[in-house]
Each structure stands twice: as structure tokens, then as C-alpha cells.
């Protein structure tokens, strides 16, 4: 988009240059003039002009004008310091304080309070009001995480606007009116919504305080440390508030290209995991069946000995929160020092993943091709492209759960610009409400849907589907604008996307794909070589086993050692408990972990893992932005930087990396990943840089270089489950079979370790639920809350029934990541039997 032309205006007699159309408050900053504001917050959308703090005089307009809502024009003459302006601004401060308690000494906001600052800078100094102030019961819980003090509230509506116009949860409302107005919820219900913590930061006074932070620190006790949240792929930029080497709070560190300045509550309150007293802080070695603390030298030696013995019969599983450096070094140890090709970072696969035809063991080139095509720089959309695209397709994922910040970003595009949204998923999505078109396919049929969509878009080589599937694909295709669409997608089998991308001309500016990986740093780990089918830079390597292959091989004894880096496959990977058995059989399990969990229970050696707050290194955002993790707190106890530990382990195994610092580790990556060439911490800086925008992007592998091409695109559309449907199958057949449901799984936002490990979040931990369409529930004689057993092929999961209108009949959904076998049922036809009444 071209930048708006610059104009010149006169502010207090000084010429100021600013972009045409900027709001006067922002334009004035270019001339170092500060105009005080309360209600203005551009992140919340259009200005509302409610507080009247920002009034200024503009030549030619008799009334004072609100600078927050006045766009600048060339030649505008503005006065911010005249008597009239000063009186009006001082009057607003006086008005605001008429009912404000001024209890700063006991107020959390004190010292970082815009009301204090503005009152000092622009207020009258003393109030003429002698009348009693307005009183409310205070403070009272607005939610389990936030307290509200309505006496301090200055009714700037930021929190309410956030709830209504950003998160669109619509829970916060203004109640009563006039001077009795207050912020609350319908019927006083707790405000429970995944982004609600943002209102604490938005509040310009101490009216909304974080329960976890209340009375913990004063601004002069604390330091800010900027880093990146690695609890999900959104990779929001954050500031840690650190007091006495402890994290007391997490704030947003606005980065419009990443997060728009918002955080989800997981990121905001999940810091408690890093501060948990249950963390492993020393290396542990199993002796006599028990894990016992050991020194680093001893632990490293034990690990090296075991790995040396297993040699090429070793596999590495790298968890999504690992940095690029952790992943790179881990795969290097396994590939180079041990000569094993088995490196995996995808809990349940990724693009071009094992189809039935290759069984995950086919030619690596075939799988790499999908990756190379779909992640190619020319098809890559950036997060900010969502602010420009005329249409957006959300495919196979619900961003609220998989990449929460994108949920807000997509809502913004629809709300503020009227972008056309299409949603095609198996499970009903929270974005459905704002979508122009929605389509539901049966769980596991994403590949079939995508092929049908490609055909409707006119891509060559695809056959139009019949029936409901074809009609759905046609509707979705109709909502998409060629050359101006961003597709946000996730899914194991989406090769048809290549055809869609071509037909939709996604290579054009502002269009493209954003793939939501399963792990926070899924993209980075893939690019530094944590895949069984590709090495660093997606280079051609000997093909290794994928996750389920590794599990089977461990179980069968053909693999003997497992290196788990920040990974708990028992909780997070398909197969769940089956991993326990597999790991139990291994001769050596080396786990890098923050906590004792199901997987460390099988470990022989445990290295304590760093939390994201302690880490130094880089991660790669799903849109290709490399971002820096910077240590905000010291490592607790004996915890050491993982790059250092892995470099030492490599050396013990004869792989000298020469890595002696985090920048060294990045340099090593850059020397092996051609399209990261030359990248450094300095270049990444505070806001990151998309590698696609660097010159080295031209080293992205070319499709032609990549093994055999799959010449018949999209013919294979089967789910990972039992029966392969005919081409053109609507995926709706399961509903014809009495009592049989095809199961889909999804990773609930809160089905994560951080929920269990952060006291503030624990109340959000989900329990396994089977979501059913009302028709199926009725047919199966089930009601909401009934306990059921969901079975297929000897795998069974217990769940409570939850009935949803928008679930497609014949489909049922379970939550992944709860440590049960739900993920193994993905795409399967299951039987359901009642196991208990509602509680």
C-alpha cells in the first residue's frame, strides 16, 4: 500500500510534517507536542471522543475540537496552549476528579497512571468540589482474574470497547447512565473470555487490576524485559515486569506486524509457569528406579554414553516451544553425531505429511515438495496482509484455539474494512458468526474439501465434486477474491492448496498463505531441520521416521534411544499413552523438561529446561518473521542455556559445533539454512524481520530441485482413519450409520501444560468433552453432561457429552492435549456408549 502523502500543519506556531489523514493527536507528536488523551486508543478502532481531554483550538473553527478525532489537513493551524484550551483541559481533569477517590497511595496504578500524569500536567492542581463523592462497593471481582474498582473508573469506555469491538465477546457493558454509569456484565456474571486480560492494560486508571499482580510491585521496583511469548504460534511480543529477579506480570509490547498490541490470557498469566516452585532446576539421573539430582558433568556424560551406544538407533522429538537454536543443535546431534535420520517436531504431521500411499516412509522428495511449494516466499502472506486482503479464508483451523491473536486480527479485518470472511472447517468455529460463507466437512476430510475448492476455483487438474461437498466448495470459492485473499490454514493433507493458490493468484502482493503450525515455533523448527524428511533449510536428507513411526519403532525395539527436547509426547502427540509404552521400552530416554511429567517418568536422564523468560535465541513466526527471545530473568538453580548444553553434548559425542554463545548458534543456523543467510540478532532487533523480505529469500529451494513431483494433485483425500472415501464423497456418510460418529479433534486453547502450571489459569483447564450435533445426541439417547466412552479399534476415551447446534450431523469432536488417547481417534469412525449420568 502506498504511504499517504505527507502534509504540513502549524502546531503552536511550529511547522509539523505528518501523514495526511493522521489524527491530530498523533500528528502533533511529530512536532513533539503532547496532547493529553484518555479515551483515545487507536488499537480500539475509531475514536469515540468521549473524555474530551484532548480539545484544542483550530483556526477557522469556532468550537474547540477533539484532537483524537480530527484528521489533519495541509495548512491546518492548531493551538494547544492557548488560555481557552488550557481552561477546557483543566476543566476536564477537574470534572474527572470530582468523583475519583484519589487513593493513589494504595492504588496499583500509582506511578504508572495516565490519570496521575495528566492531572499533574494539565489539571488545576486543586479541586473546587466539596460535595460527597460517588460510592460503589469495591473492589469486587469482574472475573476470576480481574478486580474492578468502580470508584476509580473514569468511564473512558476502553474496556467496554475492547470487549465489544475487538474481542467481540460483548460481555462488558455499561450499566445505568449519566453519573451513575458503571462498567459491568449482564447479571453480574464473571467476565470470562480468552482475551479479557487486555483490559487491565487498557485501563488508564487503577479501576481494573490483575488479581495476580495486585500489591506485588510499584513501578519504581520493577524492570521491563522485552521478549516473545512462545506459548503458541502467535509469538506475541511481550514485556516481562521483573521484580527481584521474579516475573510479576506480562504486558504487551506492541508490534503491529505480529500482535497489534494484544495478548491472550494464556500469554498474560502463563508466566506463573516459569515461576512455579515445581520446576526441575537440576539435572536428574535415574538410579534404582528413581530420578535423583546429579551434576551437569555427570548427567551430560550419562546422556552421551547412552546416546553413543544407541547411535543411529536414536530419535529426537523437538517440542514446539524450542528455539531455532535448540532445534538446530538437537537435529545436528542426531543426524551428524549419531547418524540417525529420525528427527520430528510435528505432533500430528504437517503439509505433505505421510499419506497412506507413502505410509510416511516413501521418498522424502515427495513430502518435501508440498512443503517447498506451500511455504514458498512468493505465496507467503504476512500477518499485516490480513489488514489489506479483500477476502480471508480460514481453513481447517480455529485461530482462537490454534493462534489466538489471528482471531482478533481477522475480526478486525471484517469489522473495520468489511473484508469477506469464509470459514471451512470440520468443527464449528468461533469466527462463523462474522463469516460470509461457512462450510463444514466431515472430520479428516480437509484434503477432499481443498481439492473440491481448487476445482471450483478453476485450478487445472481438479475435478469438481458432486453433492453437498461440491456445493459447499462453490459457495466458499465464490466468497474469495483472486489476487487479494489470505488463506489461514492448518491441516495434515492440503496439497490441493497449491492449486487453490494458483487459481487465486496468491503470489500477488497482499495475498498469500499463513499456515498455523501445531507448535509455537513449528515453522522455525521445520526450517532448521527438525523434520524426518528435510534437513536445515529444507535440504535433502536421508528420510527418517515420522512421529508415529518413531513410536512404533521404539515399541518394536528397532529404535533404542529417544531425545525429547521440550516435548511431552504422551500429552501432546497422537497416540498419547501409547508413547508411554514406547518410551518405557527405550534403553535411553533423555528428556529436556521444565517439569516432571508423564514423559520424564520414563526418562533416564533429565536436563532442566529453560522457560521462555530465561531463553536467549530466536524463533520463526508462522509468517516467516524471525524474532528474538531475550532473557528477562536469570536461570533458576542449575538450569543452563539449552544451546550451551546441546553444544556440549554434541562435543561429547564428537560433533564440534564451535557454538559458544547464542549468536554463534544463530550463525551456525544461518550458515546451513540458505534463506536465513547472514541473519543476526542485531538485524532481527526488537520487532523481528521476515526472512522473505531479505535478499537471501532467493535461496529458497526450487520446486524442480525437490525430488519427484506428485503429478496427480489432490486425488488422495483420505483421512488418517480407516476407510478411504470415494472421490467426491461428501464426507457425510457416517451419519447414515446408526450410532457411528466420525471423530475430529482440536487442541483447545487451554489444553496446555501452562494452564495446569499457572495457578491463575487453572480454573480454565478443560475436561474431555464429546461435542455432538443435537440430532446425533438424540439418536444415541444422550444428553448434555452424560458420560460416554468413545471407542474405535481398541482405543477408548472417556468424555462428557456437550451438544452444539452447529456441529455437523455425523461428526463429533474431542479435545487433544489432555493426556488421553483422543488424538488417536482423529478421523476415525467411533462407537459411543453411555458410561454415566450427568454430574
Amino acid at each position: 500500500m502506498p504511504d499517504p502523502p505527507r502534509i504540513t500543519l502549524l502546531v503552536d506556531g511550529v511547522e509539523v510534517e505528518a501523514p495526511h489523514g493522521a489524527m491530530l493527536v498523533d500528528a502533533a507528536k511529530h512536532g513533539d507536542v503532547e496532547i493529553p488523551v484518555f479515551c483515545y486508543e487507536p488499537k480500539l478502532g475509531h475514536p469515540v471522543g468521549a473524555c474530551r481531554m484532548c480539545v484544542v483550538e483550530i483556526e477557522g473553527i469556532p468550537k474547540l475540537q477533539t484532537a483524537c478525532s480530527t484528521p489533519v489537513r495541509d495548512g491546518m493551524v492548531v493551538y494547544t496552549q492557548t488560555e481557552r484550551v488550557k481552561e477546557a483541559q483543566s476543566a476536564v481533569v477537574e470534572f474527572l476528579l470530582v468523583n475519583h477517590p484519589l487513593d493513589c497511595p494504595v492504588c496499583d496504578k500509582g506511578g504508572e497512571c495516565p490519570l496521575q500524569d495528566v492531572a499533574m500536567g494539565w489539571g488545576p492542581g486543586r479541586s473546587r468540589s466539596v460535595d460527597p463523592k460517588r460510592h460503589f462497593q469495591k473492589p469486587i471481582p469482574l472475573s476470576p482474574l480481574i478486580k474492578i474498582d468502580r470508584e476509580r473508573c473514569i468511564l473512558c469506555y476502553r474496556c467496554v470497547r475492547f470487549s465489544q469491538e475487538v474481542a467481540e465477546d460483548e460481555q462488558l457493558q455499561l450499566l445505568e447512565r449519566g453519573s451513575s454509569t458503571f462498567v459491568g456484565t449482564f447479571d453480574n456474571r464473571p467476565y470470562i473470555a480468552p482475551f479479557h486480560g487486555n483490559i487491565i492494560e487498557l485501563c488508564p486508571v487503577g479501576a481494573l487490576t490483575s488479581d495476580a499482580y495486585r500489591f506485588r510491585a510499584r513501578p519504581w521496583d520493577i524492570e521491563d524485559a522485552g521478549t516473545v511469548c512462545t506459548l503458541c504460534p502467535s509469538q506475541c511480543n511481550i514485556k516481562l515486569t521483573v521484580r527481584d529477579e521474579r516475573i510479576e506480570r506480562v504486558l504487551a509490547r506492541d508490534n503491529v506486524d505480529v500482535d497489534d498490541g494484544w495478548l491472550c490470557d494464556k500469554g498474560r498469566f502463563g508466566y506463573q509457569m516459569a515461576e512455579s516452585g515445581q520446576r526441575i532446576t537440576e539435572p536428574l539421573i535415574r538410579a534404582g528406579g528413581e530420578l535423583r539430582p546429579a551434576g551437569w558433568a555427570e548427567a551430560l556424560e550419562a546422556a552421551a554414553a547412552g546416546l553413543r551406544e544407541a547411535g543411529e538407533r536414536t530419535a529426537a522429538i523437538v517440542g514446539g516451544s524450542s528455539s531455532n537454536e535448540d532445534g538446530y543443535l538437537a537435529q545436528r546431534i542426531v543426524r551428524k553425531a549419531l547418524g540417525s535420520p529420525h528427527v520430528e517436531s510435528r505432533p500430528s504431521g504437517g503439509p505433505g505429511v505421510e499419506s497412506r500411499r507413502t505410509g510416511g516412509r516413501g521418498p522424502a522428495g515427495f513430502l518435501r515438495q508440498g512443503l517447498v511449494e506451500l511455504s514458498a516466499p512468493r505465496l507467503a502472506a504476512s500477518v499485516s496482509d490480513l489488514d489489506r486482503a479483500e477476502s480471508i479464508l480460514v481453513l481447517g483451523t480455529d485461530p482462537l484455539h490454534s493462534m489466538p491473536i489471528l482471531d482478533l486480527r481477522i475480526r478486525k479485518a471484517v469489522r473495520l474494512r468489511g473484508a469477506r470472511l469464509a470459514v471451512a472447517t470440520d468443527r464449528p468455529s468461533v469466527l462463523d458468526g462474522g463469516a460470509e460463507e461457512t462450510a463444514r466437512y466431515a472430520p479428516g476430510f480437509v484434503g477432499g474439501f481443498v481439492s473440491a475448492l481448487a476445482a471450483e476455483l478453476g485450478a487445472a487438474g481438479y475435478e469438481r465434486a458432486r453433492g453437498e461437498l461440491g456445493a459447499d466448495a462453490e459457495r466458499i470459492a465464490g466468497a474469495l477474491k483472486p489476487g487479494s485473499t489470505v488463506i489461514v490454514w492448518a491441516g495434515p493433507d492440503a496439497r490441493g492448496l497449491v492449486g487453490c493458490a494458483r487459481a487465486l493468484r496468491l503470489e500477488e502482493d497482499g495475498a498469500g498463505l499463513i499456515e498455523v503450525p501445531e507448535g509455537a515455533n513449528g515453522r522455525g523448527l521445520r526450517e532448521v531441520g527438525c523434520l524426518p524428511v528435510a534437513g536445515p533449510g529444507l535440504s535433502d536428507v536421508e528420510q527418517g521416521l515420522d512421529a508415529s513411526g518413531i513410536r512404533d519403532a521404539l515399541e518394536a525395539g528397532s529404535l533404542e534411544a529417544a531425545l525429547l527436547v521440550n516435548a511431552d509426547p504422551i500429552r501432546d502427540f497422537a497416540g498419547g499413552p501409547a508413547w508411554g509404552e514406547a518410551l518405557g521400552k527405550a534403553k535411553l530416554v533423555l528428556a529436556v523438561s521444565m517439569f516432571e511429567d508423564a514423559s520424564t517418568r520414563q526418562a533416564d536422564v533429565v536436563f532442566p529446561a529453560e522457560s521462555y523468560a530465561e531463553k536467549e535465541g530466536t524463533v520463526t513466526h508462522p509468517d516467516g518473521r524471525l524474532q528474538r527471545l531475550r532473557p528477562g530473568t536469570p536461570h533458576p538453580g542449575g538450569v543452563r542455556p539449552m544451546w550451551e548444553v546441546l553444544a556440549e553434548l554434541g562435543a561429547l559425542l564428537g560433533e564440534e559445533t564451535g557454538v559458544e554463545s547464542a549468536p554463534d548458534a544463530l550463525a551456525a543456523i544461518a550458515s546451513e539454512v540458505p534463506f536465513y543467510a547472514g541473519i543476526s540478532h542485531e538485524e532481527i532487533g526488537g520487532t523481528g524481520i521476515r526472512w522473505q523480505e531479505r535478499a537471501a529469500a532467493r535461496y529458497w529451494p526450487r520446486v524442480d530441485d525437490v525430488g519427484a513431483r506428485d503429478e496427480v494433485p489432490g486425488r488422495e483425500v483420505e483421512p488418517a482413519g480407516r476407510t478411504a472415501p470415494e472421490p467426491g464423497d461428501t464426507g457425510g456418510r457416517a451419519e447414515d450409520v446408526d450410532g457411528v460418529i466420525r471423530v475430529g479433534t482440536y487442541r483447545d486453547l487451554w489444553a496446555a501444560e501452562v494452564t495446569d502450571r499457572s495457578p491463575a489459569l487453572r480454573f480454565l483447564a478443560p475436561r474431555q468433552a464429546l461435542e455432538l450435533a443435537p440430532r446425533d445426541a438424540a439418536r444415541l439417547g444422550l444428553g448434555s453432561g452424560h458420560e460416554v466412552e468413545v471407542r474405535s479399534n481398541g482405543t477408548s476415551v472417556r468424555a462428557r457429552v456437550s451438544i452444539h447446534e452447529r456441529v455437523k450431523p455425523g461428526s463429533g469432536f474431542l479435545i487433544e492435549g489432555l493426556g488421553d488417547r483422543a488424538a488417536s481417534l482423529r478421523g476415525e469412525l467411533v462407537e459411543i456408549s453411555k458410561a454415566g449420568e450427568p454430574e
Binding site: 471522543g49 477546557a88 476536564v92 470534572f95 473546587r128 460517588r134 449519566g178 453519573s179 454509569t181
Partner: protein, 448 residues
């Protein structure tokens, strides 16, 4: 001087509210001509040439506002403002109750002029009976083909819905009205964008008062020049004026704009009861700065009242005679606006609240002379600084009362010092006499 009846012609004829009678008296001829013979642009020109000014408060040219709506076939809307909640105003009620078809015809013509396919009459919730009458009339008009997808087979479409408000004065403010109509909390919106560009559901919207729109069929029937033959150059036409308070014959009077105000108050409404004098009067509803007896000869026109520092507003006169305590009247006025403030912007929300507290202290003789200065200064801090004009609507009359009748306020303060019996501390007492026909809110409201 007699009334000049245009909108009120035959207003007391039984059955005028029915479509038969209305048509028998020439009703719907203007609409018929509009759809059959007149191009929308020509219609706009006529309305603009007539000089018809809005009767809802601001007095903006109706035709000009209609011409601000962008042309082309985006969805456009017309909203008739029938929220009439300003203390002292009760003219729209009578217009709708007795001659609903005159309004419906005006709405339909104005909608066609503005290119609006959907029209709404947003009627004050308490006017339940009137809303029933209107709904009946709308049904009749649909039945006779004057409303709907294809008016009289012309292909013109105007759908009309009567929407009942939920009882907030602020919903008469045009943008709050739009939010309320959309199902939201009725709070004013920031302008610009103006409703003519971005109004109901984001579409261009024309908003006019009941009386404004009731004028439209007459202008179409008789032409702009005919209309300009009434009233003054800047205030053409007639005006229905609600006169209430201390007068012997309170009620609605339709007059030619520009006649002396004294004619209205004394001639038509009979003046204060025998032996009493006018002390102060609101010329344009309770939000207009008060005028004194010395100003009774001002012509009743937009321009003359504005020149005198007040306004014609909705055209409602409230008279206070020499028995009325001005401080009590000030408190009564302030309480109304405090109660009705939506709370969105700081000066109005806090300023009305603070003013009420201070005036209460004046009335209970707990104030000092300094408080009078603070009251005056707080009004100055409100005026011109709010998001909508409700804040000004309290501050302007209160400020005018403190300025013009300061000695009366000082009386309350001096009496404290001498500890002599006061003037009666119940602010409402002096006003009960005033409120016979006006809609001043009860002093014991939940926020009083």
C-alpha cells in the same frame, strides 16, 4: 393576533386520523403527485427553496440536509424523530395523534426525495397511545398503496416502521436515536461522520422532526413560494408552539413565525394568572437560556431569539411568573438533565452531577457566595465542550438564570447568615404549578 393554521388545519375535525377523512380533505395528493409527476431532484429543489428549517431543535434547512445524502443506489434511510422528550414540548404528540397521515405522507415524500427505501418513526415510548394510532394509520397507508414496495404502482419503494423508544431523553439526539434503533445502548455518536453520510446501519440517513416532515405535503402541494409567504425571510412558514407553565391557557398554538412573543404568551395563552407578572420564560424548551419580561416583545423567530442569546429550539415556551423561585427552577432544570445525561462524555456526566449537588446546597442554604461563582464557572466549562448538546442544554439555562437572577440566588445565601425563614427548600414546589402540560421529570427520580 389569531393563529395561522396550516399543520393544524381541521385538527379538531373528528375522524381526521382516519385515512378516509384525510383523503377526503385532500390528503395524499402530494404523495400521488410526487410518485407520478415529480423527479426526486426537483423535489429536493422545492424543499430547499422553501427554506423550511428543522423543527426539532437545531433549525437546519431541511432541504439542504436531504440533499447531503449521496445519490446512487446504496441503502438509504429516513428516520422521523418523534422522541419529543424536551420539557415543555408536546406539539409532536398532538400532530401525530390527531393527524397521523399528514406525517406519514410527509415521511413518504421526504424518503422519496432522499432516495431512502426504508423509513422509521422513532416515537417516545411513553406515547404508547399515539404509537397505536400511528401504527393503525401506517397499516391504512400500506393498505391504500401509499407505502410499500411499489407505491401506487410507481415502482417507488418506502417501507415504514413505527419504533417505540425505551424512555430515554437522549434518544431524541439524532445519533443516539440511530444507535437505539440499531438495538444498542442509546449514546450519541461522534460527528463527523454525519448521519447524512453514515447513519443507520452505516447507510446515509435523513433525520427530521415530526413537525418538519408534516410541513412537507403542504410545500409539495402549494410550492416553495407559497410557503415563503409565511413567516420571516430566515424563518419561513408557521410553527406549532407548545406554551406551558404559568399561563392561563396552556396548549399548542400554530403561529406564523416572527410574531411578537408577547402575542403568544399573552394573546393566545392568556398570560399568567390574574395579578401576576412574567418573571422569566424559556422560548425554546427547557434547554434554551431564559429570557426576562423585558424581552417579551422579541419576534418569535429563529434569528431574533438567537440574537437575544437564546434559541427557538423545538419551539416550546415555558413561562415562570413572579411566584416562581428561580433557584428552584434552576435546580429542577439541572436535575432533569442530570437524570437524562447518557454519561458518555466527561463535562456533561460530571458537570450535571456536580451542578445538581451545588444547587441543592443553595436551596438548602448551605452554599456560600463562592459556590455561585463555581456554579457559573462549571456551566462555562460545560458549554461547547460536550460530545452532544445535552450538556449545554443544562448549562445554558442554568448559566442564564445565575447571570440574570443572581440576586435571587444570593437571597438564599444571605438568609443563612441572618437565619431567617427561607423561601421553601423544595425545589420542585415552585414548579409544580408550571408543569401542568409540560413533561418535567419528577424531582424524586432515582438519581435525584
Amino acid at each position: 393576533m389569531p393563529e395561522t393554521r396550516m399543520l393544524y388545519r381541521r385538527v379538531d375535525e373528528p375522524g381526521l386520523a382516519s385515512i378516509e377523512t384525510y383523503r377526503r380533505r385532500g390528503g395524499y395528493r402530494s404523495l400521488t403527485r410526487t410518485v407520478k409527476e415529480i423527479e426526486p431532484e426537483e423535489l429536493l429543489t422545492t424543499l430547499q427553496d422553501s427554506g423550511l428549517r428543522g423543527r426539532g431543535g437545531a433549525g437546519f434547512s431541511m432541504g439542504k440536509k436531504a440533499s447531503f445524502l449521496p445519490r446512487g443506489d446504496t441503502d438509504k434511510f429516513l428516520c422521523c424523530n418523534a422522541d419529543e422528550s424536551e420539557p415543555g414540548a408536546f406539539k409532536d404528540r398532538e400532530l401525530m395523534q390527531k393527524n397521523p397521515h399528514q406525517l406519514i405522507e410527509g415521511v413518504a415524500i421526504a424518503a422519496i426525495a432522499a432516495g431512502a427505501g426504508w423509513a422509521f418513526i422513532f416515537i417516545r415510548g411513553e406515547y404508547a397511545e399515539v404509537a397505536d394510532i400511528l401504527e393503525g394509520a401506517v397499516a391504512e397507508a400500506y393498505g391504500a398503496g401509499f407505502l410499500g414496495a411499489d407505491i401506487l404502482g410507481s415502482g417507488q419503494r418506502v417501507e415504514l416502521v413505527v419504533h417505540r423508544g425505551a424512555g430515554a431523553y437522549i434518544c431524541g439526539e439524532e445519533t443516539a436515536l440511530l444507535d437505539s434503533l440499531e438495538g444498542k445502548r442509546g449514546n450519541p455518536r461522534l460527528k463527523p461522520p454525519f448521519p447524512a453520510i453514515q447513519g443507520l446501519y452505516g447507510g446515509p440517513t435523513l433525520i427530521n422532526n415530526v413537525e418538519t416532515l408534516s410541513n412537507v405535503p403542504h410545500i409539495v402541494a402549494n410550492g416553495a413560494d407559497w410557503f415563503k409567504g409565511f413567516g420571516t425571510e430566515q424563518s419561513p412558514g408557521t410553527k406549532v408552539v407548545s406554551v406551558s407553565g404559568c399561563v392561563q391557557r396552556p396548549g399548542n398554538y400554530e403561529i406564523e413565525l416572527g410574531i411578537p412573543s408577547r402575542e403568544l404568551i399573552y394573546g393566545l395563552a392568556g398570560g399568567p394568572p390574574e395579578g401576576r407578572e412574567v418573571k422569566a420564560w424559556f422560548p425554546g424548551g427547557s434547554s434554551a437560556p431564559v429570557l426576562t419580561a423585558a424581552e417579551l416583545d422579541l419576534p418569535y423567530s429563529f434569528e431574533a431569539l438567537a440574537d437575544a442569546g437564546s434559541m427557538l429550539g423545538s419551539g416550546s415556551i415555558i413561562v415562570a411568573d413572579d411566584q416562581v423561585s428561580i433557584p428552584a427552577l434552576a435546580l429542577r432544570t439541572a436535575r432533569f438533565y442530570h437524570h437524562e445525561s447518557c454519561g458518555k462524555c466527561t463535562p456533561c456526566r460530571e458537570g450535571t452531577n456536580w451542578t445538581v449537588k451545588m444547587l441543592e446546597r443553595v436551596l438548602s442554604r448551605e452554599a456560600t457566595p463562592m459556590d455561585l461563582d463555581i456554579i457559573a464557572s462549571v456551566q462555562d466549562n460545560i458549554i461547547g465542550h460536550c460530545l452532544c448538546v445535552l450538556g449545554d442544554s443544562m448549562a445554558m439555562p442554568v448559566s442564564s438564570m445565575v447571570k440574570k437572577f443572581r440576586p435571587e440566588f444570593e437571597e438564599y445565601i444571605r438568609r443563612v447568615a441572618s437565619d431567617s425563614p427561607g423561601l421553601g427548600s423544595d425545589g420542585a414546589a415552585g414548579l409544580h404549578a408550571l408543569t401542568g402540560t409540560s413533561s418535567l421529570a419528577p424531582a424524586s427520580g432515582p438519581h435525584a
